[in-house]
Amino acid sequence: MGGGVATETHQFHVLAVDDSIIDRKLIERLLKTSSYQVTAVDSGVKALEFLGLLDDVDVDNTDSNSHHHKVEVNLIITDYCMPAITGYDLLRKIKESKLFKDIPVVIMSSENVPSRINSCMEQGAEEFFLKPVQQSDVNKLRPHLMRGRKSSQNHKRKPVEECLSPDRTRTRYNNHDLEL
């Protein structure tokens, strides 16, 4: 492919987490109708494993660009009520992770509990969907995915900026550049 701005034409990849086989099938179908690539797992542990965040395979603590290939996930949608690791625990672990903290996370729950919704949003969830999840809910995911793609494109330009490009003189207010 030639130079210039490369438009990302590959599909968005969504990781779906739900211990109910029926709900997994449903969310997978809903996501696929929006042309998203889907990986569906049945537990928070499997999700962490998939992301490489389980203790013995801690991608976070390895050198960046080392042998560990960071899995490409654009959004994580998880059920709240799960045995072992809840959706909330999973959300927290993702937000604490260097590699995945900027990935949008969405929570699903069959129960409308305001305190639950609030704590999830405070912990950084982008959306909270009440089950059964509808197509109209899934349609709300796109802006979060688009935003994620845009910011990852900015990150990819970073190495050039670090070599004293003129852009550096512009004051920026996002967290990444405050490292100055």
Partner: protein
Amino acid sequence: MEVDQLQRSFVEYSRLLFHEGFLDGQFSQLQLLQDESNPDFVLEVVSLFFEDSERLLNDLTIALDQQNVEFKKIDAHVHQLKGSSSSIGAQRVKNVCIAFRNLCDEQNAEGCLRCLQQVKQEYLLVKTKLEALLRERHDKRVVHDLNCGFIFQLEQQIVAAGGAIPMLNEFC
């Protein structure tokens, strides 16, 4: 053949199920998710529901049969059943599950037993009706496929006899 007839009875039967409250809007959502690329989606989801529910009802029966009834465990099972029935639109099953959970909170063993009987009943009712609905849809498809096959054969015969195939309206 009788495609129209079957189509009509399928629609009527669906309406009846919605009218009697066995199925709610969520079931329509499932039907909307079915298309040519996923022609068996509803059947697949409903089959999963049957398997899952039967397992849960079995676990519930065992759990309520114990000397020391573990209400937390029972509540967890009912929660699951409530979730899956809600996801496929089995409204009456879901509603009994809601009542069931309240009885678990109250630690009412006798009430739970009665509720279990009720949920089993509702489950069997919706299962019978869903099976009938899916059978009708399957039959409609069989007839449709048979028609297409028949027409294809006709087309082949026409071409073989040196004729042109007349324009058909959307039959297939």
